[in-house]
Assembly symmetry: C2
């Protein structure tokens, strides 16, 4: 039987982390497309097959936190005050992320380097876009679920698409601001300013729906 805190589980987690760490380091150093999975395996002192055992796709070695955003949404809506408009819940969540300097609203040299590495690799860029679309789908489901609407509700899809698009633009501009001014405060303000403008527009789009 599988032992929760057993040696096997701990070793697996350690192996996984070791592979991910050494891979991330190599990718940041030399660029995602200039490092083969075989090299990662060798550097992690593990076989190529083991790498693919833990990470089905090479891109997963770099993007190792997809589940986090999903969880973030679920808890935000689980704790939502009854009767609050879903869009208001999201607006609060965004401010909370900015206040807590969550990775999704963090503008530092490290995050800049991370996203530069993504931008320089077609494969990583493609995976980032895919994750964006998955986030939109998740959010649409959560939004529709929050007010007991069918999961394919068109208004939910519009709302989710617009919010995630706003986040993408706001985050990109936040990063640009960081590169230009190197100020955490002004990056944060740029990010929030764009999100606020976006939310005001999104509210209009959804004004005759239960989402706003």
């Amino acid at each position: 039987m599988s032992n929760q805190g057993g040696l096997r589980e701990r070793k697996k987690e350690a192996t996984r982390q070791a592979i991910s760490d050494v891979a991330t380091e190599l990718f940041l150093e030399r660029g995602f497309d200039n490092v083969s999975v075989a090299e990662v395996a060798e550097a992690a002192e593990v076989s190529r097959m083991t790498v693919f055992n833990y990470f089905p796709r090479k891109e997963d070695l770099f993007f190792d936190r997809e589940e986090e955003s999903r969880q973030l949404l679920r808890t935000a809506f689980a704790e939502r005050p009854a009767g609050e408009a879903p869009i208001a819940t999201l607006r609060k969540l965004v401010h909370s992320l900015a206040d807590r300097v969550h990775p999704f609203a963090k503008f530092t040299d490290a995050t800049a380097k991370f996203w530069r590495t993504v931008a320089e690799s077609p494969a990583l860029s493609a995976r980032a876009r895919e994750m964006r679309d998955e986030l939109i789908n998740d959010l649409a489901s959560v939004l529709a679920g929050a007010i007991n609407r069918p999961l394919a509700d068109a208004d939910a899809r519009l709302a989710a698409s617009m919010v995630v698009t706003a986040l993408t633009v706001a985050y990109a501009e936040g990063l640009r601001e960081h590169k230009a001014r190197r100020s955490a405060a002004s990056s944060r303000e740029t990010f929030l300013r764009i999100m606020e403008r976006s939310f005001s527009g999104i509210a209009i789009m959804l004004k005759d729906t239960p989402y706003a």
Copy 2:
């Protein structure tokens, strides 16, 4: 020297078209991921290398009209009345596309099958997302250029992202409506209704900028 309407040019174009046609047919029939480039080459009676000569990536065999959307934007803004708000120009363009039943606003069994084939292939979906991002970048440049702003203008990026996102959602819902009701009129209406709602919200987002 290269002869404009010479035999060589005509033959090249014919070969290219023949490859693209036979590939599209195979992909629609059996699915993009179940047909190898080698098979396409064989069916087109051409070598594998020749296929890659004309179409650098396999996905290009299916998406063969990327330039069209680019051109659509440029001409719309070239013919724009002086002083018209860029967002108004886009709104008119969308209505014009719907009226002319342009491929970007066309809801038929054929377009449904086309996009179903895309949805069923990870590679084609990825390429579609990439094209969406390229369209956003193009549109942002055109918007900024239209009012003599720097090409990286944040407002232009926000506007472009929002409009393309709206188009994506509106088109998807138009397709869904087609599948449900098989009515060209009601698909068109669904599409335009979502676009109108989106434009009204986008106008709010940009109300203090020269774009709206």
